[in-house]
């Protein structure tokens, strides 16, 4: 049974909403409205009842898979469990029924929470100041890079380049370009790490920053990080830390202590806020002292016991969000941090790393492990052995869906062929990990014995393999 479109439920004159009767004198809107701007024909939205709406979107939800449905081993996405208390907190009237322009004296509770969240993030990352304004990780990257740009502008240095390793998240080069930089990609070495020589070669007086994830997208920790930092700093450049993999290091190492100058967080990864099927996220940015002046405005400050927004920031890069960022997401992250406490956060990291290493050990004999280095919270396998039998990583991913499991991130990082990037997170347990391993083994066996089964996957999903090429060739983007 295919769920129809909501418009297919429509029946002329049916109503799913209710509004009070108008209680002020009625007027003819068309007459009052500036002439020529009245819409004669109403937009052709569906005409459906509340029952229709509820049944339709309930049915759609059942065609979707969330963390509450099972393991979600998407590498670099940190799909951990989203505690339900967070949802309850983020719906407290007293916390969320607030207009963004209410006076500060009416929202001291909210500002205190935001301020404490900033402090915790600074502590976790080893940075000196944090802005909560960016609404996503990528917006955080843009913000961080604009801060770097502004810093050099103020210093009177013209630095036009940003260095990005070839293993970096796609947002890194994209953000650098958005920020007006030229992107210089450097190759990883054979151990999957930054090639220090290549870096030295790339670095010059035009380099504004190196963007790095550590551990990198292979889950491997850049051991030479202090040397890397020195190379960049010596050339006058800055270090940007991509916080997507923060779940790997909490309590063990802080980006600030690795001499990073700027970083962004992903509250919707490390700090358990749900991804919402693609958003909202939240991407706070932390900086070292010397970059504070450039943070977006307004900056949340505290004066004795009073919290306030400081708009008087002449060197600020300006605003990146209309208001203060994704506040209701921050509430969830705050709740999470307070639930775990400092010790709990460290345990999160320990268990995330433990789970990933356990999976790696159990899977590496079946699927090729291109980089043998120790890894932390995630690791990357290659389906190249299986590819030789004519079965691609895409097929393997789709076959996982048949077994009711979500698939890892595939074909990323780009430096691994037929990549399967796996991050279980700490909220999975031995049983769900073993189930994943067993399924991966079964699939491997199927590839040996009946590869068509895998190539024709998925079969047990609401739809079978979808034709992406057709979608791009003949875009059907609306009804």
């Amino acid at each position: 049974m295919i769920e129809p479109l909501i418009k297919d439920y429509s029946s002329q004159g049916r109503k799913g909403y209710s509004l009070p009767e108008l209680d002020v004198p009625d007027i003819d809107v068309k007459e009052y409205l500036k002439e020529g701007y009245y819409r004669e024909e109403a937009p052709d939205l569906p005409e459906v009842s509340e029952v229709d709406v509820v049944r339709h979107y309930t049915a759609l939800s059942e065609e979707n898979y969330g963390v509450d449905s099972g393991i979600y081993p998407l590498g670099s996405c940190t799909m951990k469990y989203n505690p339900k208390i967070n949802e309850e907190i983020a719906r407290l009237d007293k916390l969320v029924k607030l207009h963004p322009y209410q006076d500060e004296d009416q929202i001291q509770g909210t500002l205190e929470i935001m301020y404490e969240l900033k402090e915790y993030l600074a502590e976790i990352s080893g940075m000196d100041e944090v802005t909560l304004q960016p609404a996503s990780g990528a917006q955080g990257e843009l913000t961080g890079l604009l801060i770097i740009k502004k810093y050099f502008e103020e210093k009177g240095e013209e630095r036009t380049k940003v260095i990005v390793p070839d293993s970096a998240h796609g947002t890194n080069p994209a953000s650098a370009a958005m920020a007006g930089f030229k992107v210089v990609e450097i190759k990883s070495n054979e151990r999957g790490m930054v090639d220090l020589e290549a870096l030295k070669e790339a670095v010059d007086e035009k380099v504004a920053a190196l963007m790095l994830t550590n551990p990198n997208t292979l889950g491997i920790f850049e051991e030479e990080i202090l040397d890397i930092a020195k190379v960049v700093h010596d050339a006058g450049g800055l270090l940007y830390y991509d916080g997507a993999n923060m779940n790997a290091i909490m309590g063990y190492v802080r980006p600030g202590d690795m001499n990073f100058d700027v970083l962004h967080f992903n509250l919707h990864k490390t700090f358990s806020t749900p991804h919402g099927g693609g958003g909202p996220g939240s991407g706070p940015v932390g900086v070292k002292e010397f970059l504070k002046p450039y943070l977006p405005r307004p900056l949340l400050k505290k004066d004795n016991d009073r919290y306030y927004w400081d708009y008087d920031r002449p060197y600020s890069i300006g605003k990146v969000h209309s208001f203060y960022g994704n506040y209701a997401v921050m509430l969830r992250a705050y709740t999470y941090i307070r639930a775990l406490g400092g010790k709990g956060l460290k345990e999160v990291t320990e268990n995330a790393v433990l789970n990933a290493n356990y999976l790696k050990v159990r899977l590496k004999d079946i699927y090729e492990l291109p980089y043998e280095e120790n890894s932390l919270h995630e690791f990357v396998l290659s389906g190249s052995r299986q590819k030789k039998k004519g079965v691609s990583t895409l097929n393997i991913a789709k076959r996982l869906l048949d077994y009711g499991l979500y698939a890892p991130t595939i074909y990323f990082p780009l430096i691994v062929k037929e990549a399967l990037m796996i991050e279980p997170t700490e909220t999975e347990n031995l049983k769900t990990l073993n189930q994943f391993v067993e399924t991966m083994k079964i699939i491997s066996r199927e590839i040996e014995e009946s590869p068509e089964l895998v190539k024709e996957a998925p079969r047990n999903t609401p739809v079978r393999k979808l034709d992406e090429a057709q979608a791009a060739r003949n875009p059907d983007l609306r009804w």
């Binding site: 007293k94 963004p100 322009y101 209309s322 506040y327 400092g342 709990g344 999975e428 998925p458 057709q470």
Partner: protein, 447 residues
């Protein structure tokens, strides 16, 4: 409360399998000289019970809109939200999902996004829409970048009638790419069309206006349309409040090339400013220059209809530095909310919300304008927000209203060089509340 599932003995077993003694051994790759060696200076973890108590005690220091009556707008609006919306977006299959990378297990979100795109197109009259951007401000920023890519020009004429925070975000987005922002001044509350005519030239990549604008007024879009249609490579960007489009002619009819706006009004809670969602729609021919995720319909291997993320060659994970934008995570759940809202209100409701807001605002404005010492600056041209000149400074008026439990409006001198009080009336405000406001004004002004 740590949400970790592993028990000590399970950990033991796993460590053994991995072949290390302690979990600390797994962190050996981290050099000693960067290792963090003290405990975090973060309060100890709390049980749920303590957590709720602690946060509620902080919340008690807020005064929310449940405790006062909101006439504030300026980009964040207090509209009614039907009860079933939260019920539906709280379905964990929706909200605990990631971006639908594996389409076959993500048809729910994908189809909902396709419906969202379709309904945004219906509202705006445009041909295609993406499945959301981060908010109204960044959508405006993305729009000017997109227009510059299409027009290959850097000069952007931006009306001062656009929400000041959108303008600020747009500048933050545009400047690094070398865009030159030129303000268009105001005649009272609408854009000075003569100034537009003067400034519009060969080098103009885009003209940006808001509809209705920050003051609630309707710009002379017919004039704009004529001015721009004469210039082939200048794009018209219209920033909309989508909830007025059940009543107002869609921007497409004025030749809009890109329509953006803040989608909060479509069923999203006010949440102290976020998460909201940026809407964006454009002409079909510009779709490959549009940033953000787009869902398209296709068929599966059995020929059955299904949905996928499409046109991904625009995006960062494929094109990296050459992507149309760096945007990755968007505001999918807010877009889902908007889809459910648009479907619920439907053809009739979307119009009725707009009309009621309009009528209530006009009822209120007419009466304020009649009051001694008060004047509604844009009384002949506004939708559901209007600017009043007050006998006392508007900051003072706002302060006095606040004491009476009324969030009376916004002091525009915060953003502009003139004093004025921006008042917003939605369908949620009752006559009784409005009359209470009027009475309070009387008292304040006669004090």
């Amino acid at each position: 409360m740590d949400y970790i599932s592993n028990t000590p003995s399970e950990k033991e077993a796993m460590l053994k399998k991995i072949g290390v003694e302690n979990v600390e051994d797994l962190f050996k790759p981290i050099p000693d000289d960067v290792t963090f060696k003290r405990p975090f200076n973060i309060p100890p973890g709390l049980s749920e019970l303590e957590l709720k108590r602690m946060i509620k005690s902080k919340a008690a220091r807020n005064i929310s809109m449940e405790e006062q009556i909101c006439f504030a707008g300026g980009g964040a609006y207090d509209h009614y939200i039907p009860a079933h919306i939260d019920h539906l977006i709280s379905r964990s299959e929706f909200y605990t999902a990631y971006t639908p990378y594996q389409a076959e297990l993500s048809q729910g979100v994908l189809q909902a996004m396709y419906e969202y795109q379709s309904m945004i197109c219906e509202l705006t009259g445009m041909e295609v829409a993406n499945s959301s951007l981060l908010d109204g401000g960044s959508a405006t920023g993305e729009a000017v970048l997109m227009a510059s890519r299409i027009s290959r020009k850097k000069k952007i004429l931006m009306s001062r009638g656009i929400n000041p925070v959108y303008r600020e975000v747009a500048r933050t987005y545009g400047r690094p790419r070398g865009l030159e922002f030129i303000d268009l001044g105001l005649n009272e509350t609408v854009t000075d069309m003569e100034e537009l005519e003067q400034k519009l030239d060969e080098d103009t990549g885009a003209v940006v206006l808001q509809y209705p604008n920050f003051f609630g007024s309707i710009e002379d879009l017919n004039v704009v349309k004529n001015l721009i249609s004469a210039r082939k490579r200048t794009l018209l960007i219209i920033v909309v409040n989508p909830l007025t489009l059940g009543v107002l002619k869609p921007p497409a009819e004025f030749g809009a090339d890109i329509v953006v706006g803040e989608g909060q009004v479509l069923g999203n809670p006010i949440n102290y400013g976020g998460p909201y969602l940026g809407i964006m729609a454009t002409r079909k021919r510009y779709v490959r220059q549009m940033p953000g995720r787009i869902v398209g319909a296709t068929t599966d291997s059995d020929g059955k209809r299904g949905y996928v993320l499409t046109l991904q060659t625009r995006e960062q994970h494929i094109r990296r530095a050459r992507a149309t934008s760096n945007i990755c995570t968007n505001e999918a759940l807010n877009a889902l909310t908007a889809a459910i809202y648009m479907a619920t209100m439907g053809k009739k409701g979307i119009k009725e919300v707009g009309e009621q807001s309009f009528k209530k605002a006009h009822y209120m404005a007419d009466r304020i304008d009649d009051m001694e010492g008060f004047e509604v600056v844009n009384k002949d041209n506004f939708f559901h927000e209007f600017v009043i000149k007050t006998p006392l400074p508007s900051a003072e008026i706002g302060e006095r209203l606040k004491r009476k439990g009324i969030l009376g409006g916004l002091d525009v001198s915060r953003w502009y060089s003139f004093d004025g009080f921006l008042v917003c009336t939605t369908e949620k405000r009752t006559r009784e509340e409005i009359d209470g406001y009027l009475e309070a004004l009387e008292v304040i002004s006669s004090d």
